[in-house]
């Protein structure tokens, strides 16, 4: 009854700025991105050109999709470490099946393991209540094993990345990456799902207070099962796009994206404890990571120092962002 709201016209401009930033948490995040780009431009004048922007976007998109999986899963207090394996499987399978089948059929075949792993994750986590970290770690291992067994059957079939995927992955139209044709709908779907649908509400609800959700009639396993299947399908789609971009099938293609996908979601303001966050921040988080990687690539320093800097900057960015948005 006594929640007193402070007068809005706070006298201190610094305070007001902070309020502004905390009310629109994306503003500081975008500022951070701009800052990194500015540093990059200062270090290598001329690098920020349309071609570089297109490259950055192309490489950020698969990461952003995987980070989308991670965002949704993290909202429920989970984590999905199997996305790398799922994406790799989809990519490898589509490239090898593309030799025998129509692209459409190859894509459909490539998404089957994604579906299965998602289902398996969902059952383990939703029904048996296995910790998501362990469950997805385990299914990731199992998936990798199956992929290697499968690999042996296709050694001499060669690979053929469907041209449509290559067009989507690497192509530009009017200087704009074609990948956006896939990403914009996917992002819109995730955003809509999280903000405007009953299912999205339930993700937040389950992550915030599972018991309360249960008392409101939410069946946990239904939500979790659907979530992990959805996450795996999106990861599969990200894998398809990634093979279109890299055009070279390998057995560990998307594995290096797993930890960055978690980092992108965290930098974007999603809490790993569940219940808080959103996808817009994640997209910017993915861009920030990509720019950071470029920055470190073009910086001529020892590899060890590069890794140290990467770790420190990720930590710094996350800490700074948390500082800004806290005490909302």
């Amino acid at each position: 009854m006594s929640n007193t709201v402070l007068p809005d016209s706070s006298p201190l401009p610094g305070r007001r700025l902070k309020r502004l930033m905390s009310d629109y948490p994306l503003v500081p995040l975008i500022l951070l991105l701009v800052l990194l780009v500015a540093v990059l431009q200062a270090m290598r004048p001329g690098i920020v050109n349309p071609a570089w922007i297109a490259t950055t976007i192309k490489f950020a998109i698969p990461l952003a999709i995987l980070a989308g999986c991670q965002t949704m899963v993290m909202l429920t207090g989970g984590i999905d470490l199997s996305v790398g394996t799922v994406a790799t499987m989809a990519a490898f399978i589509v490239a090898t099946q593309g030799v025998h089948h129509d692209p459409g059929v190859a894509i459909a075949i490539a998404l089957v393991p994604a579906l299965l792993i998602g289902l398996f994750n969902g059952i383990g986590i939703g029904v048996f209540r296995v910790h998501p970290l362990i469950m997805t770690l385990g299914t990731g291992l199992i998936g990798t094993g199956f992929l290697q067994v499968y690999q042996r059957t296709v050694i001499s079939t060669g690979t053929a990345v469907p041209p449509s995927l290559a067009w989507l992955g690497t192509g530009l139209s009017y200087g704009v990456p074609n990948a956006l044709l896939l990403f914009v709908p996917v992002a819109a779907f995730i955003l809509f799902l999280l903000n405007r649908t009953g299912f999205g509400r339930l993700l937040y609800a389950v992550g915030d207070n599972e018991h309360a959700a249960r008392l409101s009639g939410v069946r946990y396993w239904q939500v979790i099962l659907t979530l992990y299947v959805l996450s795996a399908l999106l990861a599969g789609i990200a894998g398809l796009l990634y093979i279109g971009l890299i055009k070279s099938a390998s057995l560990s293609l998307a594995e290096p994206l797993v930890l960055p996908s978690v980092a992108a979601a965290v930098i974007g303001g999603t809490s790993i404890f569940g219940g808080r966050g959103g996808y817009t921040g994640t997209i910017i988080g993915a861009l920030i990571l990509r720019v950071l990687i470029t920055l470190l690539t073009v910086m001529q320093i020892a590899e060890g120092a590069r890794q140290i800097l990467f770790g420190l900057i990720v930590l710094l960015v996350t800490a700074a962002y948390l500082r800004i948005i806290e005490d909302r």
């Binding site: 060669g158 290096p256 470029t294």
Partner: protein
């Protein structure tokens, strides 16, 4: 259904990499083709020297007659290897050497591998200019061996400068992004040396419509295909046969049969196939194999060391399978 009598153990510490997968298949195919092996016992996973020692000890427990090992490190598994040879087990290290004196070595010469390719590249660009140096995984011993070879060639060409040195981690996606990022800086460059992440680099050059500079890579099926087909592209593939694993099996069987080699170490020197000369082009044409998995080296056999057919290595089946 035992056609042979020996049991051979295999230890390998990188999984899910085309080269290593070929090595395993070559080992299986050779074991089958030799007709002397009853059973293969393969420990194949991602691990470090300590984990490899564990695997080797497990193989000892399993009672194998010989162990073919692709060492995680030249000296990190010496203790385990010594235990094996002390028990009378024949140990052959393939791909990289080990320092344990009781072990035999049939190895690709990694230093030579890098030296050969780099020297060709530097000559190709006329002995001067800027090159991009795309290494493997930081901290891996194969990478540091190759670095020695590269530096040796570099020292011979004082006018060649490295404008960019990166570690691809032997990951396709990282290599591609790194080169695209570098292209975007607008820094001019005259050639690229890669440690095996090669076809995505050519791809990136083509996609970004950057002038095709000479590129050095490995004899992976994908890259060899590009050397044959991409117009106006000059490059060279340095062989680094995964079939070296089969050579290890052959050597092990010879020793078990009582034919000891003169030297403890046999180095398989790499070859270089370039598409700048007609002779080179012919070699490349002969080597190309578009049906092979693009990550697989096309040099699937080593004359004098391997006895299997292409069908056998591709089938990837060992004795009893």
């Amino acid at each position: 259904w035992a056609q042979g009598t020996y049991t051979i153990g295999v230890s390998n510490t990188v999984q899910g990499n085309g080269w290593r997968e070929e090595m395993i298949c070559a080992i299986k195919a050779e074991a089958l083709a030799s007709g002397k092996v009853a059973k293969l016992n393969i420990a194949h996973r991602n691990t470090d020297a300590a984990g490899q020692s564990e695997d080797i000890r497990n193989l000892i427990s399993a009672g194998v007659n010989a162990i073919v090992v692709n060492p995680a490190d030249p000296s990190g598994i010496n203790a385990a290897l010594k235990e094996a040879t002390d028990k009378g087990i024949v140990v052959v290290a393939v791909d990289q050497a080990v320092t344990e004196p009781s072990a035999y070595v049939v190895s690709n010469n990694q230093e030579q591998y890098a030296y050969l390719g780099a020297k060709w590249l530097f000559q190709q660009i006329g002995g001067k200019g800027d090159v991009v140096y795309m290494r493997g995984a930081a901290g891996a011993s194969a990478d540091s061996d190759r670095d020695k070879g590269f530096k040796k060639a570099l020292a011979e060409f004082p006018d060649v400068k490295v404008v960019q040195e990166v570690f691809t981690g032997w990951q396709q996606d990282q290599g591609k992004q790194q080169i695209l990022d570098f292209i975007a800086t607008g820094t001019p460059f005259n050639g690229i040396w890669t440690s095996g992440i090669d076809n995505v680099i050519v791809d990136a050059l083509v996609e970004s419509q950057t002038p095709l500079v000479p590129v050095v890579g490995a004899d992976n099926a994908g890259f060899v295909g590009q050397l044959n087909t991409v117009p106006n592209f000059t490059g060279a593939a340095v062989t680094n046969p995964g079939s070296i694993g089969a050579a290890g099996v052959t050597l092990a069987l010879q020793i078990l049969d009582g034919k000891k080699p003169a030297e403890q170490t046999v180095l398989v020197d790499p070859q270089l196939w370039e598409n700048a000369t007609a002779e080179g082009k012919a070699k490349l044409k002969a080597a190309a194999d578009p049906s092979l998995s693009p990550e697989w080296p096309v040099s699937i056999s080593i004359p004098g060391w391997t006895d299997y057919t292409k069908e056998q290595i591709v089938a990837c089946k060992g004795p009893g399978e």
